[in-house]
Point group: C2
Chain length 209, copies 2
DNA sequence: GTCTATAGGGGGATAGAC
DNA sequence: GTCTATCCCCCTATAGAC
């Protein structure tokens, strides 16, 4: 049993892992080095051997988290569904409204002014924005999204929608509000993508291919 | 100079005022009783004479803040502009993107689970939601907003949009993203509003902050 | 690399004089 | 009502043995 060739999880990895969890659960400021140590079954000596400070280990953990989620996004947006459908699917991803976004939740802490923390957070959002903007641009090009709608602006709106959804759900202690926010936006998007095939003569001629 | 009949600002009021500012600046958890005392030129004795705990004074301050802002909302939504214009105007209110919403910023703290804090936060958002939903409902009734768009859902979406706008602006350290999020939503709304009047004022929101 | 022991400072609150 | 003085605990490390 014990003789297996084990990857041998180092204390360093355990510490990083514990920190990732804590950053999501409680954020940066409310997370103490002691909390990390307990969650990782480690002692101060280990923590400060591998990392110079709480900020340093948080940076490492957050960099890892961002890399993970950015990679997952690549997968998500890889398919070849119609671009607007991709956007819809992204909005409808299963999310734990109360848990919040592990990046967005840090945005309101004063510590977000540490570039070490802000950089990975911004990197994650930038990846989302890029994917969404690309889909929306494509949708506009192929005629499923109306002109006059700026894909870049819209992408930011949708990211904000999700982040705000967490805020509202937590404030009302009601997960349903998260879904409501998403549904409202989906309905708007549907209106904005309603084909030009109807009597509305807003200039478009493109039909579904 | 000093002989004027002064309203005599009590230490209690100073403490509340200082707490309101701090809750906005740094949030609940990062605000220490000592911070409050310094900001209010008061001493522990005063604080704990008037309030039983940090939580108690935060509750009092937050209740006051919510009452203020709910009253301001009443004024805002009092005019008799077309309902959809009211909504647009609300979205275009001047906001300090980096400062964030003094209610929404608390939503991600673990302490939001204290009902004392959550109640005023939810009360504020509920007021916004009610006003927006009423406008949107009216707009749908008078034909300026398409059927098929649920006013309740949409109201939640718009609140989320704003709250998320703060998150994104802070994450990217870029106020322009707040405006971008708003613009994106305004464009969507414009598409969803039926241009029954010949004079097409939709989409021409003209000013950016 | 990981441990135990310890340190300086601030957090949240109380006691009691005035 | 407001003040000064003080308390205990936890936060963020640091030192040094193993």
């Amino acid at each position: 049993m014990a003789g297996r060739i084990m990857p041998k999880v180092s204390k360093r990895d355990q510490l990083i892992e514990g920190t990732k969890e804590l950053l999501w659960e409680v954020g940066y400021e409310a997370m103490s080095p002691r909390d990390i140590q307990e969650k990782s079954a480690a002692r101060p000596g280990s923590l400060y051997h591998h990392f110079s400070s709480k900020l340093a280990i948080a940076e490492a953990a957050l960099d890892e988290a961002a890399a993970e989620d950015i990679a997952r996004l690549e997968q998500l947006f890889l398919g070849n569904a119609p671009p607007l459908e991709m956007v819809r699917n992204y909005l409808l991803l299963k999310r734990e409204a109360f848990r919040g976004c592990r990046f967005g939740r840090l945005a309101h802490e004063a510590s977000i002014e540490h570039e070490e923390l802000r950089r990975p957070v911004a990197a994650y959002f930038d990846a989302v924005r890029t994917h969404l903007a690309r889909c929306l641009k494509q949708a506009r090009a192929d005629g499923t999204l109306r002109m006059g709608l700026d894909p870049e602006n819209l992408a930011v709106s949708l990211i904000a929608l999700i982040q705000g959804g967490y805020v509202i759900a937590r404030s009302f202690k009601d997960e349903a509000l998260f879904s409501q926010a998403i549904e409202g936006a989906l309905a708007l998007l549907a209106e904005a993508s309603r084909s030009k095939r109807a009597s509305n003569s807003s200039g478009g001629s493109a039909q579904r291919s």
